[in-house]
Amino acid sequence: MFQYIIRRIAIAIPVLFGVTIFNFLIINLAPGNPVDMFINPNMSEADINARKEALGLNDPLWEQYASWMGNLLQGDFGYSFSTYEPVLNNIADRIGPTILLMGSALIIAYLIAIPIGILSATKQYSFTDYFATTFSFFGISIPNFFLGLGAIYIFAILLPIFPTGGMNTLGSSGGILDTLRHLILPAFVLGTAIAGSMVRYVRSSMLEVLGQDYLRTARAKGLHEFVVNNKHALRNALIPIITIIGLEIPLLIGGAVITEQIFQWPGLGQLTIQSIGSRDYPTLMALNFLAAITVLFSNLFTDIMYSVVDPRIKYN
């Protein structure tokens, strides 16, 4: 198993390298460049060139990649083309709200998906199961943005319980309760979207465990059905459920971009949309890189966790 983990990490390194190249290429093959946005009629050709030279945009592509990679290894993501601040600072400002939103959404998703998934598996082919499966299909079929707009329309406009967006009430000093009030709607919107696909994992994982011999044994020795399901079965079913977090991360990142945009949540997702609008390549590259790293590591984590919790799995 130890050998497997080492090998799995070794495989991740070239993938990581590929990710940086791919990332660099897509953004740098863009036809426009950020200097175009600042050009005004008073600037001469020389001025424009000087600006490009200063930003390193005139170097050959591989040199730009090498210098970007070199800086990256030292933790330097360069300067934002739009705010002229270090990209790392901009990201640092935004990462907290995003983690808060994603974390809450993930917890909400688990809280919705685990009970529904278990119920649906223990009562397979019943009305409850049918209902749960349909729910999960709606979960994955409703676009995040429509769910978000609907939530704002119902819970912020028709019934003004929650604010329509932002993270704190403007002009107020903020505070935990105020943030929490702003967090509930976006977290639920993002959480429900993920819960949809999660229900299916929980259900199939639980169904697999329910067919095992040791549960028949537990029933045969007269244990109550509730104990059998919730103690003996659930514990074993939870292992794969916990590890699917790795599969949900990409969905979570994509969902966060849209959810943050709708709820004006000041996180990385909103920064992504803003950077696309202002062609801020260094920020975009850093964001894309960060997201890819997160996905890569969560996949690595999932694979390693599988081999740790289930020693029967053999890898070659």
């Binding site: 590929g18 093959l29 676009p143 943005f145 406009i157 696309i276 894309n288 997201a291």
Partner: protein, 309 residues
């Protein structure tokens, strides 16, 4: 990529292809098709999904006949409430919302079918090469697959589309060129398990070329899981196009797309006071996506050998 992975049981697919082989060997190909159709028709939601999907396709095909007005004509009252003349009202510049809604189905179907066709072709070719050739070809293709799958799907698409220019054609291309990794893995798995079968070895012994063996003897038996994946893929492509267009990075006005018809609802005034502008397109996205997902679910159950009695 971050498409909701609906193919939970990867083993099913291999088994199902094995089963297909059995049917093939026994000369029961036709009856196998019949069994699948019968089983699909038993799945009520799948049938409802299929009927809804056919209706949407008809709506797209006959849009000029069904639509009460020209979707581009500006000449009506601005932001008019629903009325007999305009059942869903008019938008900010006075276009008929219902007509735009009907025409927009063409965009969604074009994206769904176009993107999936591209990525099924790419994925099948790469997966077949990786599985059949093995060794370094397999190694390289699978590492590239890993790289593609390490990017959060929506982020890369957003960046790529904004770099290439947001329009219908580019969206189809981007979705098509990014969506292939799951298909490649699926096909590779099928090929790996099939190429050890005796009938394939017989083909090799007979001196058939690799492409002939792949195209005529292996791929037909891997068709069922690809078809299931493609069905879910269409739904996912439609929802992605809608999200991009909603963010302004997709199909650009004046062309109507269900996604860009919702863009205006980001303003609270529209959201609060003109619900007829944004609720109908949203419901249509859900209707299209869920009907395709139900179809996919029915198809998956129908080709799943575990439920054969």
């Amino acid at each position: 990529m971050s498409s909701p992975n609906l193919n939970l049981d990867k083993h099913n697919q291999v088994i199902s292809s094995n089963l297909l082989i059995q049917a093939d060997v026994l000369g029961q190909e036709e009856s196998y098709m019949k069994v699948i159709v019968t089983r699909f028709l038993k799945h009520k939601l799948a049938v409802v999904g299929l009927v809804t999907f056919i209706l949407i396709v008809l709506m797209a095909l006959f849009a000029p006949i069904i639509a009460p007005h020209d979707p581009y004509e500006i000449g009506y009252e601005f932001e008019a409430k629903p009325s007999m003349e305009h059942p869903l009202g008019t938008d900010q510049i006075g276009r008929d919302v219902l007509s735009r809604l009907i025409y927009a189905s063409r965009i969604s179907l074009a994206v769904g079918i176009g993107a999936v066709t591209i990525y099924v072709i790419i994925g099948t070719i790469l997966g077949a090469i990786a599985g059949y050739m093995g060794k370094w070809a397999d190694m390289i293709i699978m590492r590239i697959t890993d790289v593609f799958m390490s990017f959060p799907f929506l982020m890369v698409i957003l960046v790529l589309v904004s770099v290439m220019g947001p329009n219908l054609f580019n969206i189809i291309l981007v979705l098509g060129f990014l969506g292939w990794p799951p298909v490649a893995r699926l096909v590779r798995g099928s090929v790996l398990s099939l190429k050890e079968m005796d009938y394939i070895k017989a083909g090799v012994a007979l001196g058939y070329t690799a492409p002939r063996i792949l195209v005529h003897h292996i791929l037909p038996n891997a068709l069922a899981p690809i078809l299931v994946n493609a069905t879910f893929g269409i739904a996912f492509a439609i929802i992605t196009e809608a999200s991009l267009s909603f963010l302004g990075m997709g199909v650009q006005p004046p062309t109507a797309s269900w996604g860009n018809m919702l863009t205006e609802a980001q303003s609270l005034t529209v959201l609060a006071q003109q619900p007829w502008l944004w609720i109908p397109p949203g419901l249509f996205i859900i209707l299209a996506v869920i009907s395709i997902n139900f179809m996919g679910d029915g198809l998956r159950d129908a080709v799943d050998p575990k439920s054969f009695k």
